[in-house]
Amino acid sequence: MADADFQRQALQHLDALYNFAVYLTRNPPEADDLVQETYLRAFRFSHRFQPGTHLRAWLFQILRNTFLTFYRLRERETAIAEDGVPDWDVPMFHDTSTDEGGALEAHTDLERAMRRLPEEFRTVLLLAEVEGMPLEEVARVMACPVGTVKSRIFRAKERLRGLLKDYEKK
């Protein structure tokens, strides 16, 4: 694929990537940086992209890996459950406090509940339900088997429902 073509096609996914980045970082300036870094990497390593495969999944995979690489160090270390999902109710990346500069406020209970999900759960719901990606693509982005993706979606929704009920009670 020619460079110009590749770049043009890659930029078609900018809004989707930015939306994903905002939900991962919860901070628009950081989302900006994350998306920029994602595109820089994608353009630099465009020769590694196999034409015919899904460019969107490849870009999301780069963004998520970049996020995990750059942001993991900031976060506290926590125990990981057997299926790789942290077994607690607090987010894996970034606390929900809004005292950080540029942090985004949640407007709805649904958004608030999404923010409280661990990164693996949040990502799997965003990709499968919001972006409408097939499970195979989600599995590629998350570098795990399709069965694990299904399991995470199930558990993510279960946890999301629980959080939404808590908000309704309040």
């Binding site: 905002v22 299904k150 429902r161």
Partner: protein, 234 residues
């Protein structure tokens, strides 16, 4: 979504997520910045191989550096001066290898070096004799006599057979006491008086490089030059 895990509640929540979760659109400046970044002129295709070739050549040169021919001074006297200074530096750091005394060891020194001392400066109130020893410099045997002055400067007097290439450069010559005109050579932070005495090339080396020291060094030259008479023994 999976059939076995997905129930009506899951479907409804999925639809709710797709419909109600706010979507954030990339700011215009981000789009503009990325487009501008993609429009930047790229490096010419020939540049990468050229840089790679240059880097390879540089690596080869660095690898071969130890075996490449060294640039040596064109002036033969300067080559000898460098060897003399090196020998002086060695003695300065590690002392003489075979310290001998004069005049007691003169016969042995003369036999070993091929240089005979008819008269020898054995020190005075300013310069104290330290040792004498045979040396081998620029493929020639020679004789080195070391003194130390009252301030602790080591002064080495080295004598070698004068080769045909040994010539006195007029530009380097300095008049001393209206009687002698040795050459003054500077090399590696040392100064050397160079002169010819018959068939013997003589060198007086020290680290007395400052202007005041140099005046004293002239005086040392006079003391050594007047009292020493080297000749080729055989």
């Amino acid at each position: 979504m999976s059939d076995e895990l997905r129930g009506p509640e899951d479907d409804a929540l999925g639809r709710r997520l797709a419909a109600e979760l706010p979507r954030y659109t990339a700011p215009a400046r981000l789009r503009v910045g990325l487009v501008a970044a993609t429009d930047r002129p790229r490096r010419p295709v020939w540049l990468a191989p050229l840089i790679a070739a240059a880097a390879t050549a540089l690596a080869l040169v660095l690898f071969m550096l130890p075996v490449l021919p060294r640039i040596v001074p064109a002036d033969p006297v300067q080559q000898v001066v460098r060897a003399v200074v090196n020998e002086h530096s060695r003695v300065l750091m590690w002392d003489a290898r075979q310290p001998k005394i004069i005049p007691g060891d003169l016969p042995w020194l003369s036999h070993e070096t091929g240089i005979d001392l008819q008269r020898a400066f054995v020190g005075d109130d300013r310069l104290t004799f330290v040792s004498a020893e045979p040396v081998y410099l620029t493929r020639q045997r020679g004789l080195a006599v070391h003194y130390r002055d009252v301030d602790g400067h080591l002064v080495s007097y080295i004598m070698l057979p004068a080769e045909p290439t040994f010539t006195m450069n007029e530009g380097d010559r300095v008049a001393i006491a209206g009687r002698w005109r040795p050459m003054l050579k500077r090399d590696g932070g040392f100064v050397t008086w160079v002169w010819r005495q018959g068939d013997v090339a003589c060198f007086l080396v020290s680290d007395m490089v400052s202007q005041d020291d140099l005046e004293r060094f002239k005086d040392y030259f006079v003391r050594v030059r007047v009292a020493t008479e080297p000749t080729i023994a055989y």
